[in-house]
């Protein structure tokens, strides 16, 4: 059984093997889900000081988690789109677009939280900020991307 979806912006009709609207479209529900997930992630990250405890301020560990996470999420999105019957180029396009939306939103929320929490000051080095921010992204993404996707899975 196929699922038909319609893009209001490009006025295009799509036919997939199953419902992948949660990957094709970003709605207000996604934004709210992303915000809730980000708040949970930021709270855990800052309250338990995960930069020092979990990541041990180890740059290699942070980079491994960061790029590993991005690759895993990208491959998952692409695989779902491919199984739904899209060709590989469309799947890559859908995965990049969907991933970028979540990435930009959670980054924005995290950056605001870091600025207002006072964890990074103007006298700190850029290196400290960068790795603090990257490790924060890893923790926040676990919650933000999950809730973001769950907000519209199965919805038409």
């Amino acid at each position: 059984m196929t699922h038909k979806s319609y893009d209001k912006l490009t006025h295009e009709h799509f036919e997939d093997n199953f419902n992948i609207d949660f990957l094709r479209h970003v709605t207000k529900r996604n934004l709210v889900g992303n915000f809730i997930g980000s708040v949970v992630g930021i709270f855990l990250f800052l309250y338990f000081n995960l930069y020092e405890t979990f990541f041990n301020a180890n740059q290699n560990l942070i980079l491994n988690f960061y790029f590993g996470g991005i690759i895993v999420v990208f491959i998952c999105f692409m695989a779902i789109s491919k199984i739904a019957g899209n060709n590989i180029i469309d799947s890559v396009s859908i995965a990049i677009r969907r991933g970028l939306y979540s990435f930009i939103f959670l980054n924005m929320f995290l950056l605001i939280a870091i600025i207002f929490s006072g964890q990074i000051t103007l006298t700190d080095t850029y290196e400290k900020f960068l790795f603090f921010f990257l490790s924060g992204q890893v923790v926040v993404a676990v919650f933000a991307v999950t809730i973001d996707l769950l907000a519209t899975i199965g919805k038409n």
Binding site: T121, L122, T123, T125, Y126, F129
Partner: protein
């Protein structure tokens, strides 16, 4: 057999009204076309911004006297200058799509905000890469210097990106 043309004599005022209506309709159609264009931020737009930053921003960014001068400016002043540039960019991008300011059009304002946000992020990505290239983004620098340098370069990049987007070919 020739058809007789119905000759309707119009008064001057009626002719003026007709022309006015025609111009209004044309403006509406133009607006629809422009609205369709502002909706989608495609990869082409991103590429255009990167090229714009490269073409207009690179000469300033690789210039060492530019980086020598930046530490003399206070961060607060730089932020104020940045806000002014940002305001000008908002106005310029608006006039790229419309002939008036869209204070009453919520839909257009939303789309314009989205496009400005994407433009800003695209310029930031390009600028960061260029700064790494000219070794102005070092791990050992303080956050004060990082923000100052980034905002200064972002000003140049934004202006370059917007300038280049005016060369866009319209169909």
């Amino acid at each position: 057999m020739q058809k007789k043309r119905s000759s309707v004599k119009l008064t001057f005022r009626e002719e003026e009204e007709l022309i006015e209506n025609f111009e209004k309709k044309k403006e509406q159609l133009d607006n629809v076309k422009l609205k369709r264009e502002i909706k989608h931020f495609r990869f082409m737009d991103f590429a255009q911004i990167v090229i714009g930053v490269g073409a207009f921003g690179l000469p300033a960014i690789i210039n060492t006297s530019f980086w020598d001068y930046i530490p003399n400016v206070e961060l607060v002043d730089m932020i104020l200058i940045h806000l002014f540039f940002l305001f000008c960019v908002v106005i310029a991008i608006n006039y790229q799509f419309r002939k008036d300011l869209p204070f009453g059009d919520k839909w257009f304002m939303f789309m314009l905000t989205k496009r400005i946000f994407y433009t800003y992020v695209s310029v930031f990505i390009s600028i960061s890469l260029l700064m790494i290239l000219v070794n102005e983004l070092q791990m050992s620098m303080t956050m004060y210097d990082y923000i100052l340098n980034t905002i200064a370069a972002q000003n140049v990049g934004l202006v370059g990106a917007v300038t280049f987007s005016f060369f866009k070919k319209r169909n």
